[in-house]
């Protein structure tokens, strides 16, 4: 195994294992919290995009267009420098909070588009049937549309989650100590690019594989019950 040490000295990686673990846990925290928050905000975005109220729909459309047409890195900078100016209480936030805020604002429109497409995929007859039995808008949403939309949106939402996890790597630029930062730290202290960057690449790849398997499992699971009943 000594020949391997020239190319990839796993002993150095082992010395930094604690830092890598710390980074990984911050990456998963940032991604997990942003996922929950962006699903909440995304559901609101989806409902606003489907709304007939111009006063609600137009501003949300503008927000979605802005997020989709500007780079995440610039959005992160805008949140990092803009939020403390906008909200006085954000001045005492640590970098992680800004990272989560930026990722949530970035991810919500994409989640929202997926949820909106899921809602639109519900056959008309389902909604008409719910109207016919006297359900109001809230009831139709809660009991008829959203449960079915959930099944249609789960696979693409998992895909978007994979994107979200990869996007957390940009938080290293605003000095959040996440997984990529651990690699950068190793490289700056030891100048070993292979051990630094191949290790984190492999780590992200493993996370991606877990999500890929999860996504396949979910697709198989959803193909079971009568989700695809004709309207």
């Amino acid at each position: 195994m000594t020949w391997l040490l020239d190319y990839y000295n796993y002993r150095i990686v082992a010395q930094y294992l604690g830092r890598f673990a710390e980074g990984l846990s911050n990456t998963l925290t940032a991604a997990g919290v942003s996922l929950v928050l962006s699903l909440l905000l995304g559901t609101f975005v989806a409902l606003a995009l489907l709304s007939n109220r111009m006063g609600l729909r137009k501003p949300v459309e503008g927000y979605v267009a802005f997020i989709r047409a500007t780079p995440l890195l610039v959005q992160i900078y805008l949140v990092y420098y803009g939020l403390p100016a906008l909200l006085p209480f954000a001045k005492s936030w640590n970098d992680m909070y800004f990272g989560i805020a930026a990722l949530t604002l970035n991810s919500a429109p994409y989640m929202g588009e997926i949820i909106r497409a899921g809602i639109e995929s519900i056959p008309r007859g389902q909604i008409e049937g719910a109207k016919a039995v006297g359900m109001n808008y809230g009831q139709r949403m809660r009991y008829v549309v959203l449960p079915q939309a959930f099944a249609n949106t789960l696979p693409p939402l998992i895909g978007q989650t994979a994107v979200l996890i990869k996007d957390t790597s940009l938080l290293s630029i605003i000095t959040v100590f996440e997984f990529t930062s651990a690699g950068i730290l190793l490289n700056s202290e030891r100048v070993r690019p292979n051990e630094s960057f191949l290790t984190i690449a492999l780590g992200y790849l493993l996370i991606y594989l877990v999500i890929l398997l999860l996504s396949r499992g979910v697709k198989q699971w959803l193909a079971g019950p009568a989700w695809n009943a004709q309207g």
């Binding site: 500007t70 780079p71 100016a85 639109e120 990529t180 991606y208």
Partner: protein
């Protein structure tokens, strides 16, 4: 207030314009080079060539499963470190190659899906006419698949433009980097300058997004449902 912002804008505009030209240049190189590599890989994968299909599958998963920032670091730090002389490139080459390779992984999947979406009967009819595999692809399948690639390719183009911002990390003088340098001149107007940068990206990306939406409607009609 407005006068102040106007004077900042007018004094920075030539500098930011240079950055925008670099962003434009990198994104064009990446979409062209990435499409060429991606088209070949997607074509090979759609034909289920033994060994190559699996090998390219690994290539695609490796590129889609890791953040572009990490890939950039690999191209910038790891590859020149291998000791192979032609890989010891400068930061600009590393950035261009990294973005093109990243792009190719998305293009490959689009091309594969488009080829597979052309109805089987088309290819079978061509077989019945005595066409060889290459003739079937070139004269029958690819012309029809090409149309299907337009909406997703526009999406990839927007993604590339947005990814070029990450190249600022390795010192490429594109729009975001020029913005960071501008902040050294006007340290009190960080927010305004990033807002200006965001606006310039918006002007570049938004028309492409609108085109993508239009093309999507042309290729496959969207369904609508009223909820009220």
């Amino acid at each position: 207030m407005i006068e102040r912002y106007w004077s900042i804008t007018s004094s920075l505009l030539p500098f930011l314009w240079k950055g925008f030209l670099e962003t434009l240049y990198v994104s064009l190189v990446a979409i062209v080079a990435g499409s060429l590599i991606g088209a070949v890989i997607g074509l090979v994968r759609s034909q289920r060539v033994p060994l190559l299909t699996g090998l390219f599958g690994l290539y695609i998963h490796a590129l889609r499963g890791t953040p572009f920032l990490v890939q950039l670091y690999v191209f910038y730090f790891v590859l020149p470190n291998t000791g192979i002389s032609w890989l010891s490139w400068d930061s600009r080459t590393a950035a261009f190659v990294a973005l093109s390779v990243y792009t190719s992984s998305y293009v490959a999947e689009i091309v594969k899906a488009a080829i597979e979406a052309v109805p089987r009967g088309q290819s079978e009819a061509a077989t019945a006419l005595g066409m060889t595999r290459l003739q079937r692809l070139w004269y029958v399948v690819i012309p029809q698949a090409l149309k299907l690639t337009v909406p997703p390719m526009s999406g990839v183009y927007v993604m590339i433009i947005k990814s070029t911002a990450i190249l600022s990390v390795v010192g490429i003088s594109e729009l975001t980097r020029q913005g960071e340098v501008s902040i050294l001149r006007f340290p009190r107007d960080v927010l305004f300058i990033y807002g200006l940068i965001a606006f310039i990206y918006f002007l570049y990306c938004y028309p492409v997004l609108r085109f993508a939406r239009w093309a999507e409607r042309r290729v496959g009609a969207a369904r609508t449902v009223d909820l009220d």
